[in-house]
Subunit: 479 residues, 2 copies
């Protein structure tokens, strides 16, 4: 059975749908009186913590250690790496005063933490025995966005920036780490059921100070690509500026090779949007703050028996480790259904008169609307099976819809039509030259995401210069 009601507002009025979904599900409060700043509500924060728990687990099991660096970076330190500062200086918030005093040195609110972390790496790294060094932190970062802001997507305070930073003895080790980070992010997005393309960003869209950047993009219902993760090979660029030298086994000194990779609350935006429908978000059981809501259906004369069974089942499921909410409020069941559907709770258990009598529970899947009964005797086992199934099916559906939105095209006019219609991602043959890549962007009004990591090479010629294609490239409207 497929997803239900994935049509009208979700797709055709996505921006409005998204804001409403965040409010109806009590994820974000968007009325904070500064542009680009929002408040995480309790339900949203639980979702955030579930998502971060998955990321932490993946990083810890691959040898990353969590640290926490200061937010404030003195201007002199921040401005050491020339490329980096050129990339960020338009976006940095500056603290200039403490109390009534003007500060001697202005302090940047970190827009990312290379310039605060690497001076400390210089103190920590002495010899090859200190390498590789792999750390990460989950912090708030700040960007002075002048464009339109949007909750979870384009923020002035990114509240949830996971940034990993590594240092290695050789260039090969750094490259291997980039590949390992790609694998980690794949696993992460697979857990969220969020589909993605992985591209090597074009030269003109590389992270400021990096040798090359790799990015994960997913697709919003409005047909625009959303960058949800980036991985950068920094080479020795920062190492040379911040003096990150190590002593090799022979005694010679060399600069370390570095990588860094990040995700933000955009991954939560992605989970909200790709699984959503006209009712609002629908969360995969893996990350849902509440996996199962139990609603007793009272009936004249025997109000107590449904409540009693509901309570017992709730206790059993909780004890088995599920995230369960028993809704005992004195409200009509319909009102409760409405509310929890909008909270994206993947499974609803109803217990009515017939259920009590027949020792069963009625189960309703949020993703498909399917409705069936299971015997009370096997609730735990069946629920576990269903939730697993939902995770799997939600991921499969999201991937199917995503892959359907990627089309191979060879004509600039046709590509432009797709861009104008915001109809997804286009794969096009490319000669590999920067000038032609930039011409793609000018002529189609789309952005070049980059070359796919596992390049599904298209045959043919570059539609700009008409020379034989060496590779292919993905193009999309982007957030």
């Amino acid at each position: 059975m497929g997803a239900r009601m994935k049509h009208e507002r979700w797709k055709n009025n996505f921006s409005e749908w998204f804001d409403e979904a965040l409010w109806n599900a009590k994820i974000m409060e968007t009325r904070y009186p500064v542009k680009g700043l929002y408040v995480w509500l309790p339900y949203g924060l639980k979702l955030r913590n579930r998502v971060l728990a998955i990321m932490r687990e993946l990083l810890e099991e691959t040898g990353h250690e969590e640290v926490l660096f200061p937010l404030l970076i003195p201007e002199n330190l921040f401005k050491k790496e020339a490329e980096h500062i050129r990339g960020f200086e338009g976006q940095v918030y500056w603290v200039t005063h403490g109390g009534k005093d003007k500060l001697d040195v202005r302090l940047a609110l970190r827009p990312t933490s290379e310039t605060s972390i690497y001076p400390m790496f210089a103190l920590w790294i002495r010899s090859h025995a200190d390498l590789p060094l792999k750390i990460y932190q989950i912090v708030n970062i700040f960007r002075y966005e002048t464009k339109m802001t949007k909750p979870l997507i384009r923020l002035r305070e990114v509240t949830t920036f996971k940034e990993a930073h590594t240092a290695h003895a050789t260039s090969e080790d750094a490259k291997a780490q980039v590949r390992a980070a790609v694998e980690t992010y794949k696993k992460f997005f697979d857990e969220l059921g969020v589909p993605y393309v992985i591209t090597k960003r074009p030269s003109w869209d590389t992270f400021a100070g990096a040798e090359y950047s790799i990015a994960f993009d997913t697709l919003a219902p409005d047909g625009r690509a959303l960058q949800v993760g980036t991985i950068h090979n920094l080479g020795q660029n920062f190492a040379k500026v911040y003096g990150l030298e190590y002593e090799k086994e022979g005694g010679a000194h060399e600069y370390v090779y570095q990588t860094c990779y990040g995700i933000s609350e955009r991954v939560i935006a992605a989970a909200v949007m790709v699984h959503g429908d006209d009712l609002g978000p629908c969360f995969p059981p893996r990350v849902a703050p509440v996996q199962i809501v139990i609603v007793p259906i009272p009936f004249k004369g025997e109000e107590k028996s449904a409540e009693k069974v509901a309570k017992r089942i709730a206790g059993e499921l909780k004890a088995a480790g599920f995230r369960v909410h028993l809704d005992e409020r004195d409200l009509r069941p319909g009102r409760k259904f409405y509310e929890w559907e909008r909270h994206g709770v993947p499974l609803r258990l109803e217990i009515g008169p017939k259920d009590v009598k027949q020792e069963q529970v009625t189960v309703v899947r949020r993703d498909t609307g399917e409705r069936f009964t299971i015997s009370l005797k096997v609730v735990n086992r069946e629920v576990r099976k269903i939730l697993k199934q939902i995770n799997k099916e939600m991921r499969a559906r999201a991937w199917k819809s995503f892959l359907n939105s990627i089309r191979d095209l060879k004509d600039l006019g046709e590509i432009k039509k797709v861009m104008d219609a915001r109809a997804g991602i286009v794969r096009a043959p490319w000669c590999g030259k920067e000038a032609c890549g930039k011409a793609f962007e000018e002529k189609t009004r789309g952005s070049v995401l980059g070359e796919e990591l596992n390049d599904k090479r298209m045959k043919g010629v570059c539609p700009v210069c008409l020379k034989p294609a060496k590779t292919s490239v993905l193009i999309a409207k982007t957030y």
Copy 2:
């Protein structure tokens, strides 16, 4: 058996001891190049997360929900409550520029979040049904400290500020919430084994904007009191300024009554200092990042058998839920002992030739230095018992030493001697008048912590005005 080596450096050179302890245990990196900003190292961050987990659990089980508000507060919002701003304006960092643009409205880095949270409360609270409202967040806050800064204690970025904010229908409900918060904090500090006095702060040391403030203080080894938690009854002060009105059942409107209460990473400083000794920190098993370190003692010819047993025991203890580290490095055991003692790991298991032969493990307690053997057959059960015992004994020892540092005195000259010698906390009779309280501070060079919550009233006269004492007061040198 008592604590060992709690004498020389720990007490007589506390400031140096503290900095070294944080570095040797790899809790903080203190060389970040901005005054008052420090870096949490992985071991320290694990400790922090253990401590926060206890706090979160206590707050969740008492009906608080976690949220996350923005860091930046626009100047107009921040300056609405006159008392509050007077208390903080000398300490606030101001963001004045975004990129090259001067901002229209300056943005404060929150020094605390009343002024960002309460305008949102005004949107959320409509009627009595919305009350009580109880939320908390764990965030970074900023204070432009002009005094000497110190890691975990006096910071410009407080990285770990837990602030709870509540709104109530009646004054009585708010007062009851203050009492409930006191109970929560008691439980919290009992879990950390940190002893405390609880006082109602004097009028001249009340939180800016509060009706009254209650504070928890512990004692540093250098005899100075350290404020580790505060609880404020805000009355209707903020409610009136930010328009927090609710509709009563009858339809009339009234302003809500509010409380707020906070702790910071000072609670971690407290755990480091009160349980420390000349070897460094010693963590209660309840919060220790590593509870048990296992060190195999290799012996000629049979290197493998100790390692094998060590590995098996480590696996068993991990499976039983303990936080275990098996130190298999190719280093002398003595070097390992040295290192883990400085990390404050409460229990060390050694497995040497004799242990293997006799199917036992040698156990060394970090807190007492006690050394004994237990049979391999009962390791899990015995270790659980010992760790529990250590928690209990560490708390009891800390309390004993703390209570010994509080003395009842009635003579201003004697009190001044204690203050000059930084010899702890003094309890003195007080007439209750502000003028006499301030005279205590002038004449003794100590600070009035306040009246004890469960007042152990001293008989006699106020040593300043010589009128009959109505209450008693605690006085100490403070951080």
